[in-house]
Symmetry: C2
Subunit: 265 residues, 2 copies
C-alpha cells in the first residue's frame, strides 16, 4: 500500500468510526493500532498487556484448517494472548485437502514452552503420521509438562492420546473416531468439549469454536468469552440439523465419510 | 516423511479403516488418495469428477481468517469443487491480527473466472484498503460477470458494495457495520445469510459456515449439504448466548468492539 493510500485509509477510518459511534455508541470496525511483528514470527507485546499468554497451535501436513482457525479466531483477541503457529519446520503447511496452506511461524525445536497447546485434527494420512511420530510426542509432552492448558480439536485428541496424555482420562474426538480414542486409553465422553484437569478435548472440526469460547473465559473471564462470541457473531443457524451422528441418518453418515475420503489427498 | 513412515502409515490406515468399518459400517477417517497438486497452485481433477466447480477465495492483507476458512471447510469437499485462494500477488497473506498467515495460491491477474467468488471480511485497515482499491473492484466485477454465485462473509459485503455489486439489493454484513452497507446502496436485511439473485452475503465471521452449507447444497444437492454439516460436526453448543447484538447487552457489545480494536494491527 502506498503512503497516499495509507493516508486515505486513515481518513476513511476516522470517518467510519465516527459514523458507527453515532449509530451504536461504540467504535465500529476495529481500528489499526501499533502491533509490530518481527520477521522471525515473534510479536512485540501490545502496549496494554499486563502479561502475555502464549498459545501454540501445532500445524502438520494434512491438518484440518477449521480445527485450528476456529479456536484461533476466538482466542487471538483475548487480552494478553499471543498465538503462534508451530510445525516441525517453520514455513508453509498444507491442509488435508491440499487446497489450502497456512504458514507455521516457528519450528517445534524453537518452542520450549507455551501456556496453551492446541492440537488440531486432520485427515487420516496426516493424523496417522502424527500418531506415529515420536519426536512430535516428545515435544507435546515437553510443552504439556508446563502448560496451563493442553487442548485438541477433532482427531487431534488421537495425537494427544498417542503421546500418552489421555490414559484414564475422560476425553472426546471426532464422531467417527471414538474407537481410536479408546485405544489410547481415554474414556470416551460425549460433549462439544470435555475438560479433564488441564486437558480439554473438543469434538469434531467446528467444535473447536465452542471450546475456544470456553477457553477464552478460562484465560480471562466470562465477560471476555461472551464478548468474543459476539465479536465473531457466533449465533449459529445452520440450514440443517445433521451436525451429530445422533441427528443424522445412516445415509448421511455414510455420505459424510465418503466425501471426506474422496477429498483427501 | 520417510518411505518407511509412509508404508507404516498405509498399514495403520488399513487397520483404522477396518476397525471403523466394524463399528460404524462405513469408512472412518478419510483415506489418502491420489490428488496431485502442481507447484503453481493448480490442481489435477479428481478421478471421479464429472465437472469442476471453481471457487475463488479472495485473500488480502488484514482479512479475517475464519471468514475464509469457515466456508472453505464446508465447500472444499463438495463433489467436483476446487477451491483456490487468490490475492493481488500469490504468496503469504497476513490476517487482521497479524498472528496468522495463509498462502494465496494464485494472483488475481492469473484468475479470469470462477464459478463461485468468496470475499471474506477483515479488520478495519484491510477492509478500508479493499473498499478503495479500484483494481480489486475491476477484478471482482470481472469474476462476477460470469460467476454462478458471488458471495461474501462479514465486512466482505462492504467490498462487494464498493465494487458496485449491491445497489438496491438486499444484503447483510457484520452487525456493527450496517451503516457502511447502506452507504453502498444495499438494503440491509437481517439474517445469517441473504440470497439476492446470484449474490449471497453472510453476516459476521462465523456466519460463513452457515452460508457455506447452504451453498454446498446449491452447488450439489441437499444430501451433500446435510452430509457436510455432519462431516464438520457442526452441532453448535456455545457456552453463552451472546452471538448477536439482540442477545448481547450494551457492555458486551462495547467490549467486543474494544477487543477487536485492541487486537488489530
Amino acid at each position: 500500500m502506498s503512503a497516499a493510500e495509507l493516508a486515505a485509509g486513515a481518513g476513511r477510518r476516522r470517518l467510519l468510526r465516527g459514523a458507527v459511534a453515532g449509530t451504536l455508541g461504540a467504535v465500529g470496525l476495529a481500528a489499526a493500532s501499533d502491533h509490530p511483528a518481527d520477521a522471525a514470527g515473534g510479536h512485540a507485546p501490545r502496549q496494554d498487556d499486563e502479561r502475555t499468554l502464549s498459545i501454540a497451535v501445532l500445524l502438520y501436513d494434512g491438518f484440518t484448517a477449521l480445527d485450528a482457525v476456529g479456536p484461533y479466531e476466538v482466542l487471538c483477541r483475548v487480552p494478553g494472548v499471543r498465538v503462534s503457529t508451530v510445525a516441525r519446520t517453520a514455513g508453509p503447511v498444507r491442509t488435508d485437502t491440499g487446497e489450502l496452506t497456512l504458514v507455521a511461524e516457528r519450528a517445534m525445536s524453537d518452542v520450549g514452552g507455551a501456556d496453551v497447546l492446541l492440537v488440531p485434527g486432520g485427515g487420516n494420512r496426516g493424523v496417522v503420521a502424527m500418531m506415529e511420530d515420536a519426536d512430535v510426542h516428545r515435544w507435546i509432552r515437553r510443552i504439556h509438562r508446563r502448560s496451563t492448558w493442553t487442548t485438541s480439536v477433532c482427531t487431534g485428541s488421537l495425537i494427544l492420546g498417542s503421546a500418552g496424555l489421555l490414559r484414564g482420562l475422560p476425553a472426546t474426538t471426532y464422531w467417527a473416531s471414538r474407537p481410536y480414542l479408546e485405544k489410547a486409553g481415554a474414556v470416551y465422553t460425549p460433549g462439544r468439549f470435555v475438560e479433564a484437569g488441564k486437558i480439554i478435548t473438543a469434538a469434531g472440526v467446528s467444535a473447536g469454536i465452542d471450546m475456544g469460547l470456553h477457553l477464552a473465559s478460562r484465560l480471562s473471564d466470562e465477560k471476555v468469552g461472551r464478548a468474543m462470541q459476539l465479536a465473531v457473531e457466533y449465533d449459529p443457524d445452520p440450514p440443517y440439523d445433521t451436525g451429530s451422528p445422533e441427528k443424522a441418518d445412516a445415509q448421511t453418515q455414510a455420505l459424510a465419510l465418503k466425501l471426506l475420503e474422496d477429498a483427501a489427498r
